[in-house]
């Protein structure tokens, strides 16, 4: 039972309370479940590992031990961050397929303001300034960068999949 409790505390996204376990362990009382949870925590915390089970807000929760916070923070910085926001992804798609393109043209296609998304993409080095359009006001032209090609494993922009190919994939779905 202790190993199961440990596993449950691990997968739970909030502190595990004894009463929540009554459906998992029918026949156990709230008191006996609480004792079992405490025993699980004590046994887990005895070993010199990286995590600990702590009693928080009336429940039991697994966390990393505070002494490793610096290294964990360091690690989290290196991992790929969560997906691009939808706005950034759409903006990147417009730049990729319609380059060279101005901010006003991106706005016209997306129908939404895109300047902060474009800013993010410039910061992430996926989009670069490639020139100025020879029209009134000489607006800046944007295009994808070399990092863009590397990130998506493309040899050249000609390798981008086309809308026709997308339609072909989706077409069989009636």
């Amino acid at each position: 039972m202790l190993a199961v409790m440990e596993a449950i505390i691990y997968v739970a996204d909030e502190p595990v309370k004894p009463e929540q376990l009554q459906e998992v362990f029918p026949g156990e009382t709230k008191e006996s479940l609480e004792r079992a949870l405490r025993t699980t925590a004590e046994a887990f915390n005895e070993r010199p590992g990286g995590m600990a089970i702590r009693e928080v807000a009336g429940g039991f929760r697994m966390t990393t031990r505070p002494e490793y916070h610096e290294q964990i923070r360091e690690y989290l910085k290196t991992r790929p961050n969560a997906k691009l926001s939808m706005a950034s992804l759409e903006t990147l798609a417009v730049v990729a397929y319609k380059q060279p393109v101005t901010l006003a043209e991106i706005l016209a296609i997306r129908g939404k303001k895109s300047s902060s998304a474009l800013h993010t993409l410039l910061e992430k080095n996926l989009v670069a300034i490639v020139g100025r359009k020879q029209v009134v006001g000489r607006p800046i032209l944007y295009g994808t960068s070399r990092e863009f090609l590397i990130h998506f494993g493309l040899n050249s922009l000609k390798d981008l999949p086309t809308l026709e190919e997308f339609a072909q994939l989706a077409s069989e779905q009636l």
């Binding site: 996204d13 961050n81 990147l92 417009v94 319609k98 494993g153 809308l163």
Partner: protein, 255 residues
């Protein structure tokens, strides 16, 4: 057997024809049906009684047709392949060997190879299924709230990018159709509209542009706008052959 597009009604019905009973099941494709027949009748794959199998295959197809089930083209292609092999089998041996002294190839060979290949991948799929079941039994902790969002690498696939672009274009088109539906549109507005579309698409079909015009006035406006764009050298019209679709293309200057 799970599948994307169910071909059959409730599995388990049986039918009888020419003395054979086939349990009516959903087969994903012709190769699946053939494999089923071969296994059920314990047929030697290297010596398939092609006339017998062809008859059963055609019966299955007929029943599907009777039940108004739409069969994809590959079902009919397999039917004609089977009939072709059957006819080749009827040609006497001596005639086949005439041109060369090497042994003539068994007309069934290609099909056998295809069936074995298919069975091989069905087995691989079963293995993946088992692995998926096993993996489904382990759990991960819920993702932690990101401490920092400063990562420089993004986690997006090429397919995500394409799908995003598809979504943008789809939304754009819906928007254009909404705007264009205002019947009081002027030639100048229509010129702008065509310019915008040509920015998103490299070419527009002449017929598609006119299909949106519900009134005679709109058609005239569209036509005048197009003429003006041609005069300004912003677009050119191309038709590969008479009576074929006319494409409206951007000229170099506007690209």
């Amino acid at each position: 057997m799970g599948n994307d597009q169910d071909l059959s009604p409730d599995a388990g019905e049986t039918f009888e024809a020419t003395g054979v009973t086939i349990r009516l099941e959903a087969f994903e494709g012709p190769l699946d049906l053939l494999l089923h027949l071969i296994k059920r009748e314990e047929i030697d794959i290297w010596n398939i009684p092609i006339a017998h199998i062809t008859r059963q295959y055609l019966e299955y197809i007929q029943i599907m047709k009777d039940l108004n089930i739409n069969l994809a083209a590959e079902w009919l292609m397999m039917a004609s392949t089977l009939i072709y092999i059957k006819s080749r089998m009827l040609v006497p041996q001596e005639q086949k060997g005439e041109s060369g002294d090497e042994e003539a190839e068994d007309p069934r060979h290609e099909l056998v190879y295809q069936l074995l290949e298919h069975q091989k991948f069905k087995n691989a799929a079963e293995m993946l299924h088992t692995r998926e079941e096993v993996e489904g039994a382990v759990w991960n902790k819920p993702p932690a709230d990101a401490l920092e969002d400063a990562g420089e690498i993004v986690d997006v696939s090429l397919f995500d990018l394409l799908r995003a672009f598809h979504e943008v274009v789809r939304r754009f088109e819906e928007q254009q159709i909404l705007e264009v539906n205002q019947e009081e549109i002027t030639v100048e507005q229509m010129i702008q509209d065509i310019r915008k579309r040509l920015f998103v698409h490299d070419a527009i079909l002449f017929s598609a542009l006119f299909a949106e015009s519900r009134s005679k006035r709109r058609m005239i406006v569209t036509f005048l706008a197009l003429l003006e764009l041609v005069r300004l050298h912003e677009v050119r019209l191309r038709q590969k052959r008479t009576f074929e679709e006319i494409h409206i293309l951007k000229t170099k200057e506007t690209a």
